[in-house]
């Protein structure tokens, strides 16, 4: 059992524990519809978490993912629905902007925090221009997909698993994934071997943009309408999700499956609190507390490891 396995253990345990607690409090949740309800919003959160993971993997952080997902949701609920060609072109353009952002951040040695923060103003402005007041509607196929009722396991469970597995194979198994993680681990070694760190960073950001787009689309598919502030909390949730899933802030140590589990845990934590009849006031506080708790537990582990 190496450190990677240990790292995934904590999120799995915390999700299991939380799930057990929910089932104990509300046995009726142990059903197809119960699970679907519990994990209802897990899909877009998981996608946004994967996007954040791509950025953290190359030692940066994205404070604009929330507004970006909102923007994508607005585009999906308006242009993609009414004028697909323009709509998809806009989404592709947005991905290109993300990739360019990564390239500029690397080429000029800029701090990602400030650049992404500036971009968060930009995306939020674009979102307001596209959809000044809540509204729009989901493309029929998207709605059908998100609301589909496959036999045995609901979409809300299947989709995160599929996302996690695909990304696991991409990040942990493919050559490109190795190089991308290498940028986070020791970009000098990558550079020395003759690879373009600039290109790799742009790729990582581009993929993050792609997952941001997917997250926005999935969100609209679930809610059937959008507004410019629909996903603002995703910035915080996505970071918490990656960390909860065993990722680290630096050094290219991330786990796609862990990140998805982290996102599901955070979604479930909200449902759990409502089962406890605790007011929703405490939901965000609980998310913060979970984040701090996980970091504290991990600190104990790393200390012990360092001593051993």
């Amino acid at each position: 059992m190496n450190r990677d396995h240990l790292r995934i253990l904590l999120p799995v345990l915390s999700l299991g524990l939380l799930l057990a607690a929910v089932f104990y409090l509300q046995p009726r949740a142990m059903s197809y519809f119960g699970l679907n309800l519990l994990f209802n919003l897990a899909v877009p959160v998981a996608l946004a978490t994967i996007a954040q993971m791509m950025i953290l993997m190359v030692n940066d952080i994205d404070l604009s993912i929330g507004t970006f997902v909102s923007f994508c949701a607005c585009v999906t609920a308006t242009f993609v629905q009414s004028d697909p060609v323009t709509g998809y072109a806009m989404l592709l353009g947005a991905i290109a902007v993300y990739a360019a952002m990564g390239a500029i951040i690397h080429a000029r040695g800029l701090p990602a925090i400030v650049v992404t923060l500036g971009m968060s103003f930009f995306w939020s402005g674009m979102a307001i221009l596209i959809l000044p007041s809540p509204g729009g509607s989901a493309p029929a196929w998207l709605n059908a997909m998100m609301k589909a009722k496959p036999p045995l396991v609901p979409v809300a469970i299947i989709a995160p698993i599929v996302i996690g597995l695909i990304m696991h194979y991409f990040i942990k198994r493919s050559s490109l994934g190795v190089l991308l993680r290498g940028v986070g681990g020791n970009s000098q070694a990558i550079d020395r071997a003759g690879w373009s760190v600039l290109g790799l960073k742009a790729t990582a950001y581009g993929i993050a943009g792609l997952f941001g787009v997917l997250s926005g689309m999935a969100l609209v598919g679930l809610t059937t309408s959008a507004d410019a502030n629909i996903a603002l909390r995703y910035t915080l949730l996505s970071i918490a999700g990656v960390i909860l899933g065993g990722g680290e802030f630096t050094g290219g140590r991330v786990s796609p499956i862990g990140a998805v589990i982290g996102a599901m845990t955070l979604t479930l934590a909200a449902s759990f609190l409502s089962f406890l009849h605790l007011s929703s006031d405490w939901q965000i506080g609980a998310q913060g507390a979970i984040l701090i708790l996980v970091l504290a537990v991990r600190l104990v582990f790393t200390r012990r490891e360092a001593l051993a």
């Binding site: 000029r108 971009m119 103003f121 221009l129 507390a289």
Partner: protein
């Protein structure tokens, strides 16, 4: 470098001096931008001295709150890459809520209320710094996580009730003295204090040194941990104080009253010409940037452009300032 030399050789002396001043004092750009926006906003309107006066009055009123939190954020950013306080909005909300609840609109409790707001800020700052120092969490994540907690405590503590501030306090916060908004005078006082700390005090030297090179500062005898402690706690105290003022100004604490200040506090630091790479900050730029941000909204409003365009412009301005600054400094 060579370009600058050329300019010096060919341009007349006065121009050279001016260029030198502008290149050394990045905040002059922010003041020029604020001035230009003011003129542009006036041109769109019907004109007239009264309108100019009221626009300026409003600008100074709203800029005041941005300035106080911006100064706190500026000190944090000065500490160098990775240092930023994302818990400012939550601290503001919590301090405002708790203080107003305590005062319960009773005019005799203003001073204890103020102390409580500052105390809340102090507590938040200590909590943040504890996470950063003891748990070795990167500041961004630490302040982010604690902001969740502060926000929840704030919600819990007032349960959505809106308690009015004591009348005298509300009058003070909304009123003016000699045609200048009181809150702007308070912000000015804070700015002068911050300027003294940054430019004249030993602490300021230590902050600037830690931000340029933490390792070298430590080896040069700077107690860097104490410096970080002072800056994070000070930033939270300023946020708590602003929360108190803003709640008094707007007739009660409101659960998302701090929201816009998260981005705004960082934006004014960047636009004001402080280096995001740390170690080089200035107070006048914060004022210029805060006025600029308010005037930009007014200008766009008077041209009939909405919030969307304003946000896009703000974002583009921040990103281009950062990109341009990186060219000159070259240091990351």
């Amino acid at each position: 470098m060579s370009v600058e030399n050329n300019v010096q050789n060919t341009a007349p002396r006065g121009v050279t001096a001016l260029l030198g001043l502008v290149s050394r004092k990045a905040w002059i750009w922010a003041w020029l931008a604020a001035g230009a926006t003011f003129i542009a906003a006036m041109m769109a309107g019907s004109g007239g001295g009264a309108e100019a006066g009221s626009l300026l009055y409003a600008a100074f009123t709203f800029a005041a709150f941005t300035v106080i939190v911006g100064i706190g954020q500026m000190f944090v950013v000065t500490l160098g890459p990775g240092n930023v306080d994302l818990s400012i909005p939550a601290t503001m909300t919590l301090a405002g809520t708790v203080a107003l609840k305590f005062m319960a609109s009773d005019g005799s409790l203003v001073v204890p209320g103020l102390l409580i707001a500052i105390g809340v800020g102090l507590g938040c700052g200590l909590f943040n710094f504890g996470l950063i120092l003891l748990m070795r969490i990167p500041p961004i994540i630490a302040t982010l996580a604690s902001s969740f907690l502060f926000q929840s405590v704030a919600i819990w503590s007032n349960r959505g009730l809106r308690i009015k501030p004591p009348e005298g306090l509300a009058d003070f916060a909304t009123g003016g003295t000699l045609g200048i908004p009181n809150v702007a005078l308070v912000a000015l006082g804070v700015s002068v204090l911050a300027w003294v700390v940054l430019e004249r005090a030993i602490m300021g030297r230590w902050i600037l040194a830690s931000g340029q090179n933490k390792r070298a500062a430590r080896l040069g005898g700077v107690p860097v941990t104490a410096v970080h402690f002072g800056v994070y706690v000070g930033c939270a105290v300023l946020a708590g104080f602003t929360g108190f003022l803003l709640a008094s100004f707007s007739g009660g604490a409101n659960l998302n009253m701090g929201t816009e200040y998260m981005l705004m506090s960082i934006a004014v630091v960047v636009i004001g010409g402080s280096s995001i790479a740390g170690g080089n900050s200035n107070v006048p730029g914060i004022w210029a940037a805060a006025l600029f941000m308010f005037l930009l909204v007014s200008m766009l409003n008077s041209y009939g452009l909405g919030a969307g365009v304003r946000l896009i412009l703000t974002g583009l301005i921040i990103v281009s300032v950062v990109v341009l600054a990186s060219k000159k400094g070259g240091r990351v």
